[in-house]
Symmetry: C2
Subunit: 317 residues, 2 copies
């Protein structure tokens, strides 16, 4: 349970061999960028590594995958990036729980499950920590490293919008833009934040039409029920960033997005636009996350879920 | 028609007295931030100034207005910021055309209508130029200056998303965040990019439902017709950023947003997600703007407007 400095982590990475890099299930831009940037850095150091994820990498992140995938080899070392809790390994948990040699993360909720942990809860993204680490190590950046790190920092901050954004997020981004002026930053941002599939557009229309307002409009409910998926053809994997719909209305402080996993089971995402700590609300339901964005699983009918969450949000307001 | 350096401009601002600061009609975050930051800087220099705009400042920018407005006084000097063309003064054109002593702008299409022009077409925003100018002058920043400049840079880049974003946009933002760590950047971004009025949400649903696809989906049309305003209660002033709807669909390269000014008159905004220079398309219709975002006025029926624009976009693709 060693707390690692940059020096420690650099020494570890320079001596490790044949690493498996684990990222969390339902992978997002930050863990994918972190994982594949680390693979590229280990390649620069002459080492083999593989990125492992319980779920497939969504197609929209395909541009971050290396052109030549690594061949197969057994792990001599296991590193996790952007994973606060071994639960988040998903189907890989059984194999790798208790076996992680190094964890690099930015979640304040990190459970220190790894033998060694490099944690910076003030960093906007795992990729922000990795940027500073690679610079500290004097790694020569490649375009692959740069685009992975940019994507991770941009996605975890909602393109520099959310209040987890730090001055370093901007400084590192500026340095990447100066070193790689030809990289298609705006194209990346468009893929991440703007482009929607026809089914996703249909689904957003439907969910906006049905959006519910509670507590005098200070709380909203967006329901991604099974019939939304069926009516619009929305793919289960095509839901990243869906939670932002709930915070569109003027005056809303807590936005609830409830996604029906199976009948009577809702995956609930809370976002806060004000002072409410939604991580604490989600903890009451066995979940967790960040102060302004957190999640939990609730069993019950739509009415029960609405009622329980409204009461919890009302108490927090 | 003097081209001004930072030194020239600094000398001008240090000697000018009783300035009227003109911004463009339909004011946006950049011209409002530029105008009110300059007023705050002139105040630091012990000078009186007033910001003038042909249209009212939209309520969402109210937090940029100074707490104590300037008293009335006649202009001894006229400065324009973020105004490429005297036409854009709107109702103020008649009074001030030919009378501008200094223009500070970032539009490559600037017509050099002022006696002196400080122009940097590579800057993402007028506020980016002003940031560097104020630093060059050694102005001590106040929170009012900082929030004006941040808002201008953030809004003109779509929160650092578009490809006009420069390394300097990020560096200056990081410097503002370090000097004013308590400023509510995320709150500003939420007001600028996320919060929507109920009428605006209704209008977006309606326009998305009616969105048209042309040229195999490479071109979209979003129609903000009079009936959209009437049906949804959308206010004429509540339309900033509406053009981004047109670029949501996968595969679209040119997004057209046509807003019905009066019967048979459409204010058309074009946005490019690919290589098409929409400024050139708009120039064919007597308009102009940036490579990726431009506008023009077209007279005709909805069918005629669609037909003429589709032909122009097809030729450009």
């Amino acid at each position: 349970m060693q707390t690692m400095s940059f020096e420690d982590t650099a020494a570890f990475l320079r001596t490790c061999e044949d690493a498996y890099i684990l990222i969390h299930r339902s992978p997002d831009g930050d863990c994918i960028g972190a994982g594949y940037s680390l693979q590229a850095v280990l390649r620069v150091l002459g080492k083999r590594s593989k990125v492992l994820c319980a779920d497939p990498i969504p197609q929209v992140y395909g541009f971050l995958l290396p052109e030549t995938p690594e061949e197969d080899f057994p792990a001599k070392c296991v590193i996790s990036v952007d994973v606060a809790d071994e639960n988040l390994f998903g189907a890989l948990q059984e194999t790798y729980a208790g076996r992680v040699d190094l964890c690099i993360d930015h979640h304040i909720s990190n459970l220190h499950y790894a033998a060694r942990t490099l944690l910076d809860p003030h960093a906007a993204a795992a990729c922000e920590i990795l940027y500073a680490l690679y610079r500290h190590m004097g790694i020569p950046f490649t375009e692959q490293i740069a685009k992975c790190l940019y994507t991770g920092m941009a996605t975890d901050t909602g393109c520099f919008r959310y209040d987890n954004t730090t001055p370093e997020t901007h400084i590192y981004t500026a340095e990447l833009m100066r070193e790689f002026p030809g990289m298609r930053y705006a194209w990346i941002n468009r893929q991440m934040f703007e482009v929607k599939s026809p089914a996703r557009i249909r689904a957003e229309i439907l969910m906006l039409e049905r959006m519910e307002y509670a507590l005098d409009g200070r709380c909203t409910f967006v329901w991604a029920t099974r019939d939304v998926f069926e009516t619009t053809g929305l793919d289960d994997k095509d839901t990243e960033g869906l939670t932002s719909l709930s915070l569109k209305p003027e005056g809303v402080e807590v936005g609830v997005t409830a996604r029906e996993r199976e009948s009577g089971v809702y995956k609930v995402s809370l976002r806060s636009a004000g002072d409410v700590n939604v991580s604490e609300i989600c903890r009451q339901f066995g979940g967790g996350g960040h102060i302004k964005a957190a999640g939990c699983l609730i069993r019950g009918t739509q009415d029960e879920v609405r009622e329980r969450l409204t009461a919890a949000v009302e108490a927090a307001l």
